[in-house]
Symmetry: none
Subunit: 217 residues, 4 copies
Amino acid sequence: MRSMKQRAMGSEDKAARRADILAAARALYRQNSYQLPSVAQIATASGLAKGTVYLYFRTKEEIFVALLAEDFTGLLNEVERHFSTPSSAGSLDAFLSDYMAYLKHHPELLRLDAMAYSVLEQNLDIEQMRAFKLGLTQQLVATGAIIERAFALPEGRGTSLLMRTYALTRGLWQTLDYPPCMSELLAAPEFAPIRPPFLTELPQALAEYWRGALQAP
Amino acid sequence: MRSMKQRAMGSEDKAARRADILAAARALYRQNSYQLPSVAQIATASGLAKGTVYLYFRTKEEIFVALLAEDFTGLLNEVERHFSTPSSAGSLDAFLSDYMAYLKHHPELLRLDAMAYSVLEQNLDIEQMRAFKLGLTQQLVATGAIIERAFALPEGRGTSLLMRTYALTRGLWQTLDYPPCMSELLAAPEFAPIRPPFLTELPQALAEYWRGALQAP
Amino acid sequence: MRSMKQRAMGSEDKAARRADILAAARALYRQNSYQLPSVAQIATASGLAKGTVYLYFRTKEEIFVALLAEDFTGLLNEVERHFSTPSSAGSLDAFLSDYMAYLKHHPELLRLDAMAYSVLEQNLDIEQMRAFKLGLTQQLVATGAIIERAFALPEGRGTSLLMRTYALTRGLWQTLDYPPCMSELLAAPEFAPIRPPFLTELPQALAEYWRGALQAP
Amino acid sequence: MRSMKQRAMGSEDKAARRADILAAARALYRQNSYQLPSVAQIATASGLAKGTVYLYFRTKEEIFVALLAEDFTGLLNEVERHFSTPSSAGSLDAFLSDYMAYLKHHPELLRLDAMAYSVLEQNLDIEQMRAFKLGLTQQLVATGAIIERAFALPEGRGTSLLMRTYALTRGLWQTLDYPPCMSELLAAPEFAPIRPPFLTELPQALAEYWRGALQAP
DNA sequence: TATGAATGAGTTTTCATTCAT
DNA sequence: AATGAATGAAAACTCATTCAT
């Protein structure tokens, strides 16, 4: 019997352990974003046994959905923070700059997100799914409301802008991100049109979208 | 040794057989878009033996990438056809209408596309990948050129518009499409903000994007 | 989920379970020595699930190499025991008698050995291979040293004699062993020259070899 | 329809085509002696279609057994030639030298032979097997007779010497031959005892054997 | 005779999850 | 709570062989 990790009795301990698992999963996923790490790997990296992981998450997918939720929350917080600061609120450029910075510092967000639709959501319990979607929706609405205030938009419009902004983000990412093994291949000149760097392309596309969206119809 | 299907000797016969396999794969995928059907299923549905499928496609993934390519080609052809008709060329609404119609009639395109990034491309031979991407790029550029002509845009701008249009399409789809089992769940009023139907939402979003994009910067 | 076999928690239990698997594999192989049994068969015969077998052996080949190692070790122990007994040490006939007895009671040794070169070693991890070869070499050298003492031979000569003895053994086996289905066929008189029974032929051949080897060059 | 190779109508043509197939198989096997080439490879290398190969050989194994038979015949011819030359007949060293030279120039003989027991003979039709064994036996007896004359041995003794000689050869080969990937591994000093080069080791072992065998019992 | 399209058997291994300890 | 041993489903792909043309 190997050293059993100290039991987490209090709810704080338990939250900490849960956070350990998430952190381990995140680190592992960052190393190789093209496949979800196995539960065994996550357990080892957390210094826990496989079974213990299942005391904190009902399924493997739940772990990664939690990660995704963290990142979404972070992104929406960023947006909220931006538009709550009166000075910067009105400037789209400043917003895009903040937005891009967040994405750049959370490289796994968009990869995980791409897996969410086709991998994560498949193996997710309906109740887990509901909880995830509900949290997301609520924050989306809240952040949307702040945008509405900043741009004097009708109710619901802010949420809609947010969703479309994120849709463009995720869509462009999936178009422009390639696994390392493709890099050299796509360096050939005939691929130039599908090669603009995501970090340059996205702000331009978003700027265009917002310009159109903020005009009177 | 069951009844052997008539041999495809000529190159036309072979093309037909290849098409049969693709059709079977498409039908199967349409039935359950949340997982790629197995090769055994595809073979059975085509009335062929498993091994025969591998005479026409080197890997299972190649089948689905071929399907995706078909649909992309169809979509771009649609766009091309639209903008090549002088009468309708200038109308964005008419374009969006055609575009949406195509998507509506090819429900598996966007699902497959969502799997492409996270599933298909992982298991795809680099050479198969290259062929797929190259074909796509070329058609993208060609169709882009037609858009450039229709709107009197500078070179490269048409391709860029197309890519961004498709990015928004794919991104919104992934945001708004739910598996059937989620439907009742999301019927609850608290989910209203993330529930607008894709077919309504997308044209609005695209109209906004194009309005912004076609303005002088 | 069928009845789960009692868990092997202690290291003794685990060793016992490992031994169970080996025993099952050996029994199965004895039944049909012309093909390695499948892991599924081994698992069933051990009363375990397939996955459990892989907790004890990393690959199927590792199982059979372990079997081979057991038998080699047994054979070399036999030799060692023989030559460590002062009374019998000098008698070649007595040695051959012991040696033959061991082979007779381990009928799968030479069959497995014949597969080792062409089947097992191909699919074996290089590290597993190294471990196997190293153990073998060490025992070979140790046993060789005992032979050197018994016959007053220079260093290294004992190991060499052993290897050549075994080479002749394996070579003759492969020449003289036939699958049962060949028996009647080879009963025809024209096959008499290649039909001497292995158990008669080998001691004669070994006696000749050792006679020549133990003479001054 | 690609250029169909000229039909082989006469029996000479057919023999030539058969020889082509064998040559192709041999060349392919020499390239990678650790696995039998596929029939498709052999067909391509012979400039024939897969089906055509089956007009000349009933099974894939038959091809390689034919190759083995060729090499055995060659080896026995070599022995025969040696002992039929009065001048060199009595010298064991000269014989060993010729014998080793043949092996050195037919590197696939011993590899194929090692596969014969565990791979080839399994999938061989009993009749094919009989033919192979019969031819071998007859030549073995014939060559044995020549040895008997050269050394004034009783009938049957020559064949026995030959079989034992070959047994030692094959056994040592399997002990001392390693796939290239093992080379560096076995370069470590602890493996020295199992590393003597086959071409040095075999003549010594054979010399010892023959010395013992030719003495009065 | 020659072709090559069609067949289909056959098996290892991974890994999420459970549950006895 | 923690552990880690046990479970078993799931599926792609190869390739020897056949036989219609």
